[in-house]
Symmetry: D2
Subunit: 138 residues, 4 copies
């Protein structure tokens, strides 16, 4: 169970007024929620830097006409069997596919999988995002 | 159809040797493929900076126990009806869900959708990635 | 004069405990100071995104043996006369110089100056940082 | 001495045409120089990731009215005696100073110095940039 506690911070009046405007423009309903997100983002970055278990999503765009590439992509994901949680495939146009591979594991392992897939011939672009596995962020 | 042409670049011998080692460690099969990826990454960043049509994947982790949140997430995606290509949902633990929302549109629109969703109460963390819609990158 | 006011935020107990540890490891003396820095960073990023007046530092490494380069660097800085606040020069080795150019102006102008200088032949590497001009951050 | 060698890469015709336009807009005089910069940037990022010796510039904005802060900043720099190559100071307004500290050493040491200085009370904002020490990039 999550247990919310209240803490106080002191901030310059004008800086706080600016932050309130920024948070409102981004759509936040309260200052507390906006500051919580800054704190959570800091916690996630630290998990990644310390190679903790995180969830990564690897977005790749590739040319499915490239011979052998589809097999290589599947083989790479099977090599990390048990780590890949799900894969989503979108047909962008007659030739290009977008695939999102969702992986759970240490940040370094996810980076390694990303390096491997992004270096395959026929993979045009890709990026990896690391986020929380949920447990650490209440 | 893609038409490959060959171009020459001059590079310092030692710098090239270092780059070859880095590319090999990342798993690239050839120097040409590794340099192509640097050029494509530069092209994608430019598309984003110029607010061209790109494909974005928004990764969010949220607490599905938060009342009303699931409805708000669906409503936000419906508001961008026709732009959201697919959504994948993973149950991380009893409480936390990971959702990857794949959107096609101008970079600014995707950022706007991301700001809106990330500011919802109960959304714990999220990140957006922008990539090519395929057409621009051969 | 700065006028500090106190605001309250509610945070999950465990998340707060983690953040306190992270802040301590980074050397912060208080939680309030660590959260203030997150808020200030958010304010600076917003200034940059909105093309407000910020201060930029452009770090470049170049080969001073390249004919004409020193003159081109000086010419580029004079072209932005009144915007360049200071320049520091460090002799890294017999051939390479590091120069830090401190500029005040709109984020887009600073980016333009950076693009121009980084594209000069003989400039080996460089990066630009945008920070506050002081006024906005109390 | 630098020894330039020529290598060939094959690229899609349209992608190359786009890259040429981007390079021209950034001010590059030749395609070769623009690609060299992508390769150098890749080499510098790898040096940072592997904790090699690099040069860092730490940009900080602080309030010089904060009692004791100037002494703490000087003490922090002396603690890394022999690593700090130069420091430049700019008076932004009556209250705020910008300081650029140029340091040479392993990436982790530079990050540590940055964490320490950025966590000092009265330091409003700061960012660190890592670049080459010159030797690795011909």
């Amino acid at each position: 169970m999550s247990s919310l506690i209240r803490t106080g911070i002191s901030l310059d009046r004008e800086l706080l007024a600016r932050f309130d405007r920024i948070a409102a423009q981004k759509g936040y309903g309260s200052r507390s929620e906006a500051i919580r997100d800054l704190v959570r983002e800091c916690a996630v970055s630290t998990d990644v830097a310390r190679d903790r278990v995180v969830v990564g999503t690897l977005t790749v765009v590739y040319d499915h006409h490239r011979p052998g590439l589809t097999e290589e992509l599947i083989a790479a994901q099977h090599h990390y069997h048990g780590k890949v949680l799900a894969t989503t495939h979108v047909h962008l146009d007659a030739r290009h596919c977008l695939e999102v591979i969702i992986v759970k594991g240490r940040a370094s392992m996810i980076q390694h999988l990303a390096d491997h897939i992004l270096s395959l011939r026929g993979v045009k672009h890709g990026k990896v995002v690391m986020t929380t596995s949920g447990k650490q962020l209440k």
